[in-house]
Symmetry: D2
Subunit: 338 residues, 4 copies
């Protein structure tokens, strides 16, 4: 199988490296508009046959099975559309597109041309998230009450997208994967503190039809780096601290039980707390992107739908777009279309 990597900025080298490691795959092309970067490709990956600034060269090469698009988000739609139309399978860097309409078009197109469309939500393929999904699916954590995510640090101001479009795709994708229900609404507030700059801090709330809800703090201007998710379930609770070297996932056998009682009784009598053992399961240490590239190839070879397929990526874009709209309207709740 032959693949091409489009865009050799921050993420591209990781894609080339991981695809190169896999059996039965050749990274034939790397394409970037910046020829200096292409020089780096030739130094670091002598196994890549062609480096080019001309995307059509790849589209016209029938030997190419798949392209990985790792360019700025506002080019995702056009580049992916051309690739699908040329009959290539496509892996798009997250977020899938910068608007819902384009994302819908890509999903429809991929279906029409019968090609795999996958979005590179890398976190889904980490040992930590795989373990949380397992715990959620097995029923061990019970009904999920809330999902609280904090992703903050200093030093990643982007000029092309705000903090929501930059950081929230990670956590929204993890939430979508873990919580097996469709959200119905989104609200968000955010502010820019740097003149002429986009929002650098934001808070997003995601609502479901029932009392499940999710909340996200994303911030480019924090003195400390925090990457933590709390999942409160009716049976167990999870803390996912991505800054821990080991013990990223801790599962608490703790909870609350409401005993139906006489409302006139003294306060605090109806709620029973349960605290028990905590355990930190061993996690798969495979590099997430390797697992993901391998999954992409497996889906192509065997006609399977990827975990983070076009529909999945579309759901994330829906929430991002709704969050953006809400933020522009001071936090009013935006309904998600179904």
């Amino acid at each position: 199988m032959k693949v091409a990597v489009i865009g050799y900025g921050y993420w591209g080298p990781n894609l080339v490296r991981n695809f190169s490691w896999l059996d039965g795959v050749e990274v034939k092309y790397v394409c970037d508009l910046d020829s200096d970067r292409l020089g780096k490709v030739r130094n670091l990956f002598p196994n890549v046959s062609v480096t080019t600034t001309d995307y059509s060269e790849i589209l016209n090469d029938e030997s190419i099975d798949a392209v990985a698009v790792a360019t700025p988000v506002n080019t995702h739609f056009q580049l992916s559309k051309l690739a699908l139309e040329a009959g290539k399978h496509v892996l798009i860097e997250k977020p899938m597109t910068d608007n819902v309409a384009d994302a819908r078009k890509l999903v429809a197109l991929a279906s029409k041309v019968n090609r795999i469309l996958m979005v590179d939500h890398t976190f889904l393929y980490t040992g930590a998230v795989i373990k949380m999904k397992e715990l959620a699916e097995s029923g061990q954590i019970g009904e999920i009450y809330y999902f609280d995510s904090v992703r903050v640090n200093l030093g990643l101001f982007q000029n092309d997208v705000n903090v929501i479009w930059d950081l929230a795709p990670h956590d929204l994708s993890i939430m979508s994967y873990i919580i097996d229900k469709k959200p119905i609404g989104v609200s968000a507030v955010g502010v820019s503190h740097v003149k002429d700059s986009l929002e650098n801090i934001a808070y997003i709330t995601v609502f479901y039809e029932d009392t499940t809800f999710a909340h996200f703090h994303i911030n480019w201007l924090s003195p400390i780096k925090v990457r933590q998710i709390l999942i409160g379930g009716s049976q167990k609770m999870i803390v996912y601290n991505d800054m821990e070297n080991t013990e990223k996932i801790k599962v608490y056998d703790s909870g609350v039980e409401a005993t139906p009682g006489n409302k006139d009784e003294l306060y605090n009598t109806l709620i029973q707390y349960r605290t028990g053992d905590m355990y930190a399961p061993k996690l798969d240490q495979t590099e997430a992107l390797k697992t993901e590239c391998s999954h992409f190839l497996d889906c192509i070879r065997n006609g399977k739908q990827p975990i983070s397929n076009g529909e999945f990526g579309l759901e994330v874009v829906k929430m991002l777009e709704a969050a953006q709209k809400s933020m522009e309207q001071q936090g009013i709740k935006i309904q998600l279309e179904r």
Copy 2:
């Protein structure tokens, strides 16, 4: 000086103990409707002259200078009103009242009868908050961009108030003290996960006229205990981690500077990060309630206004009431009256 403590539940014993320690003060009365509790008072504090279930006894005792009201919040207004009318100085447990109208009436009454009205926002008197106030006032942290607070743990379900009225007074009072500006609006979302119970998780956002804003996560149903405030300033940033035994306050000499530049330049070129030393100042270890009781007496003796006076307490109640309204309307922004 003679004081009476009304309500001997969770907090009352701390008030009796701290007032008893101070020079020139006698805790003459402890009043509670539960006579078993009054028995405990007599065992533990033989120095308290009278224990009574009859509040009027205290109101009628002209030797009593001040009363401390530590009863359930829905009784604060009535008990404080009677005390002020009887010419006593009043210290009310937080939150001051369960609605803005009552809080306003108490402020007006205290002014009319010329008595000290103080609200027991104990955190303001901790070494940590005193230090943060100092740092903010000295201009060292610059303009405050955001205030982010998390106060979550397992095991404090209340039946009479929801998580907002229970936990947020702490953090809203700290915010009010540190940020020397009046907020203009509040929004909140929250959910109850336990049947027939009040909201156990909520998020509050507080807006100012400029881009400063504040956010609060409060949660009775968390697997871990977190009590952390991040303050992002234009010059320095603060992390206040109340779960740390030492080093509760860390001051980071970090920040971001926007260099006015050509918008067409490549991304990331206009923003300069600054990271420098961190330091953790030594904090005063005095018990906060002791400092606070002492401050209350000092204000009475010298006719000074307390830091957490009636007006201060009223501001907190305004935010709580607005948060409650917003939560009931799915998070719409509620303007604060000025």
Copy 3:
């Protein structure tokens, strides 16, 4: 049952409080040479019948079943001896005595007069140590390879004993309890950094007949407080971090297996690492001293031997005395008599 507490310094109040809480026990006497302290007893514990500076009053009171000796260590022997001779059961604050010969005499005397002799090694009765003992006894951790303890902080310089006699009794008692074998030798090094003062930092090594060994770092002059024990076993390993609020005990399913192999093979091929889940068991939260006082009374009532009986306390004193000797001889290994 009636008990007397001798010595009302740092620890005495805890003994009075805990004995007072237990059913069927009366703390009849508190004895201290300092009459100011006795005044405090009367204020805080009105239930104590007699406060006295005269120890013989207690010895002569036939209604007294037991005495708890919480005086400076150099008085333990004499006071305990008198109590045993007067037919009282005795609980001695740790360390049991300041030399092995005296400890032996007390053990022999207790046996002769058929009274319970118990040493107040409080840590043995904490939920954390009880859990570690359980894990060790059940065979889950396998053979214990090493026991590494660090107990350091700033601010506890004593003038009457050095850091070994002050801090090491805690960790030596935990080691003795967990490792079910008799040590054969001890070495120690230590230094005083404050003029005319006793040693403020020391390291102790305890040897066993096989390759099990234990090591202790004790230090009054550390910038940070550390109280951590690592236990390396052939099956599992334990980290006991007493500074953690929750999760004091973590059990790691990790280890090393040596595969007998050809010595000529390349290095690193014979050792297999095993890393698995970690779990933090729920611990009993009862105050250790309460559990201990209750155990003391139970042993008296039912003629059982306490976990930390005289023989146990003697073993600790043997190691302390050997450590002291070794330290005075620059760390040579001192054999423990059996």
Copy 4:
């Protein structure tokens, strides 16, 4: 300037990479007995001219100015000797040699042939150690009372050297650099818990003429990874936690002062504790090996002595050899020859 790297195992690639980055240097040769590894060199570093299994080729190439020896320790002496005799400057991987006699010979030889001899004690060139050296030299921490080091983890069993020779060179070199005095003696205890294997856990004590002393815990069989050094000084104390991402160095303005007093006074009255602010200085983030390679070249060019020159490396080997001897004699103190 032209250099050759000898040995392309774990560390060699880092040397090649760092020397390649520096201006005015060419890595002309990489030498290893394993031709597979040489293949990797050619893939990863196409800029390296020659890969060879024949060391004499390098010795005979007069264009080569310096060699970096990164082979197993038992070959260090022979390879370095040949290089010095051939007129090359030499950088040897730590520890310098596996015995003191050989180390002495290399020092003498380098002096005789007037070539730079440097030992690759990489930690000395980290931002953290550079900062500690600065603090020590400036007098800010006062007299150094003790140096306590813990370096433990799971998963690095070596078959050719024991844990002392493997891990202790790091910490002994840091100690030697920070404490500007010559140690006079060493003791050590250690044990092997894996059959037919070398010692996997050891404790080393280093003595000075005065009361300064240092202690090291090194362990291949720990459930958790700890890399922490405490330095207690008369003025300030340092905690160096290498596992921290930021804040690796914390400086505590804490200490103890002994007030000469009447020995008969009550205990605890003569010692005054001082606790103040803590600060975590910003550290240089440059890769240590880059700083070190650059320093090596600077010394060659300008005829300066490296910080970690032959004499420095010899001191470390003296302590290692003494620790080994002490361990074989159950911990007796071994004098260091001066």
